[in-house]
């Protein structure tokens, strides 16, 4: 069971949440102009990384708010929680991964408010609950 740090309510059991899949998938700006290939990308293709994944969760039985989360899809460690609409905290503004390992990017607690998304709640893997999934 994941122990998910809701930005509003604090750490809560995974059973209080619902999963929303990949984060940062905007609705096409000009839907009328999309080709079939582009539509299929928007509808059916999502990233499926083995490693850090930016995903959406909603705290459905708590504050009922959506938020984004960076999670390692192998260890299941939660790396960072940040608001909907803000950029991935482990990517530089041009979208490229920060140098160094993505998992310990600029969102570690020591950098505090220097992180790109200032309100991101950070969970360096060392403080993630041991065996966050059991």
């Amino acid at each position: 069971m994941l122990l998910i740090p809701c930005p509003n309510c604090g750490p809560r059991d995974e059973t209080e949440f619902h999963y929303g899949g990949q984060a940062h998938v905007p609705y096409p700006e000009n839907p009328n102009e999309l080709t079939d290939t582009e539509w299929s990308r928007y509808l059916f293709y999502r990233e499926n990384p083995k490693g850090i994944f930016a995903e959406r969760w909603v705290h459905s039985t708590g504050c009922r708010q959506w938020f984004n989360m960076l999670r390692d899809t192998v260890s299941y460690d939660i790396k960072s929680v940040y608001p909907m609409g803000s950029k991935r905290p482990d990517r530089s503004p041009d979208g490229a991964p920060e140098s160094g390992t993505a998992s310990t990017g600029p969102d570690s607690t020591t950098t505090g408010s220097a992180a790109p998304s200032t309100s991101s709640t950070s969970f360096p893997s060392t403080t993630a609950p041991e065996g966050a999934t059991k």
């Binding site: 069971m1 994941l2 999963y19 079939d36 299929s40 059916f44 499926n48 083995k50 995903e55 192998v74």
Partner: protein, 406 residues
């Protein structure tokens, strides 16, 4: 009553050769699908200078972790055709492979718990019959006669309102299936190479010409991907994307019991499916964990929910113990149907997206994928399961028809 004895654990059934520097075709992934593909490449197409590369041990992925349900009662014509072909192959393979993998046609029941379920089930029985798939609709009393330990009282949260039943469906010993294919592959000269992880591909323009592995580079004319949960990772290495999400899927067994459960019972609505293995364990599976995961483990609450459903349906299970739980990584698509066909990379082919239900498809996946690799074009059974369907919109939506598609 006595339980059925399993064959002795066999001696080594295949060689462990060093990889050669080149092959006519390389199959990535030594699970059931990779092995079946190699088998049919050699047997039907005479391609024996081929290798199956497996990063771990033979059939240690989903092939070792599934609950072995085999059935073909899918709703849509395309699915019924390929899964029924698989079922017919299951019926002849023990003889053809000269290996008894205990394919037990004890029937599979899919329970209906709501009016919606009832309507969908009766429709599916009709569709199955039109497609030559054996199917029956059972009322609750008939359900009870076939499986006396099922609770059909109407005072439970989701009472049993009936079931579809496919008598020719059943279970088989998954490990033995893999060994049976591996042994025949080896006899025909196929190299099965374990501990050989594919880490990249060599390309000449848009054409694949080789694979990079932790045991060196191997040149090849054709590559077939059979990597199940890792399909996206391999496609990424090759430079294209797949509409796949990888999820943990868990299952568990109890300790050994006297035979109490004569058939296979699945419930899409309460998310549990149960059979009793040949040795006597109760084997149960649930739905996928909601999140993406490559960890071969999921969350415990999924198991808890599955047990709650199982105990309500089978009150005598209340005193059984969970002996072992485990997880695999399943490659799900949005229409719950597989992808078997060509890719944007020339001479590279993909077989994936079987998700939670690909064990039953193993022989047909192997036969059609081998055809696709050998001839460069799909067999008529896998043609509808192309990657292009996500662009053309010709989806094969088995989700509505079988929410838990094992």
């Amino acid at each position: 009553m006595s339980t059925q004895h399993l064959p002795e654990h066999p001696d080594f059934l295949w060689r462990n050769p060093e990889p050669k520097s080149s092959y006519d075709a390389v199959i990535v992934g030594g699970g059931g699908h990779g092995l079946a593909t190699a088998y049919f490449l050699a047997k039907n197409h005479g391609m024996t200078n081929i290798a199956v590369l497996e990063k771990g041990w033979l059939a240690g992925g989903n092939m070792a972790r599934n609950t072995t349900i085999i059935r073909s009662n899918y709703l849509w014509d395309e699915s019924a055709a390929i899964y029924e072909h698989a079922l017919k192959l299951w019926e002849i393979l023990p003889e053809e492979l000269e290996y008894d993998f205990l394919f037990s046609q004890r029937g599979v029941m899919n329970l209906a718990h709501t009016l919606g379920d009832v309507r969908e089930s009766i429709r599916r029985v009709g569709a199955n019959k039109l497609n030559g798939v054996d199917a029956e609709w059972l009322d609750p009393q008939q359900v009870k006669e076939l499986c006396p330990i099922l609770n059909i009282r109407d005072n439970i949260r989701y009472p049993v309102m009936g079931a579809t039943y496919q008598p020719r469906a059943g279970i088989a010993k998954h490990d033995h299936v893999a060994w049976a294919f591996a042994r025949k592959c080896d006899e025909m000269g196929v190299d099965i190479i374990q501990n050989c992880e594919v880490t990249g591909f060599l390309k000449d323009g848009d054409r694949v010409v080789g694979v990079k592995t932790n045991r060196g580079t191997i040149n090849t004319e054709k590559v077939g991907l059979c990597a199940a949960g890792h399909s996206s990772v391999l496609a990424e290495m090759a430079g294209f994307q797949l509409p796949i999400q990888s999820h943990p899927l868990q299952a568990l067994v109890s300790e050994l019991h006297e035979p109490v459960h004569p058939t296979v019972v699945m419930s899409n609505h309460v998310h549990v499916y149960v059979s009793q293995a040949h040795k006597g364990e109760l084997v149960m599976g649930a739905g996928v964990d909601s999140y993406n995961g490559y960890g071969q483990r999921g969350s415990f609450h999924v198991i808890e929910q599955q047990m709650a459903a199982a105990v309500e349906l089978f009150p005598i299970f209340a005193r059984a113990h969970v002996l072992r739980t485990w997880g695999g990584i399943v490659d799900t698509t949005l229409d719950a149907s597989p992808i078997v066909g060509t890719t944007p990379v020339e001479n590279m082919f993909v077989n994936c997206g079987w998700g939670t239900g690909g064990f039953k498809g193993t022989p047909a996946a192997g036969m059609t994928f081998a055809h696709t690799i050998a001839t460069g074009a799909p067999h008529k059974l896998n043609a509808p399961f192309s990657l292009e369907r996500f662009e053309t919109g010709a989806l094969i939506d088995e989700h509505g028809a079988a929410a838990v598609a094992h």
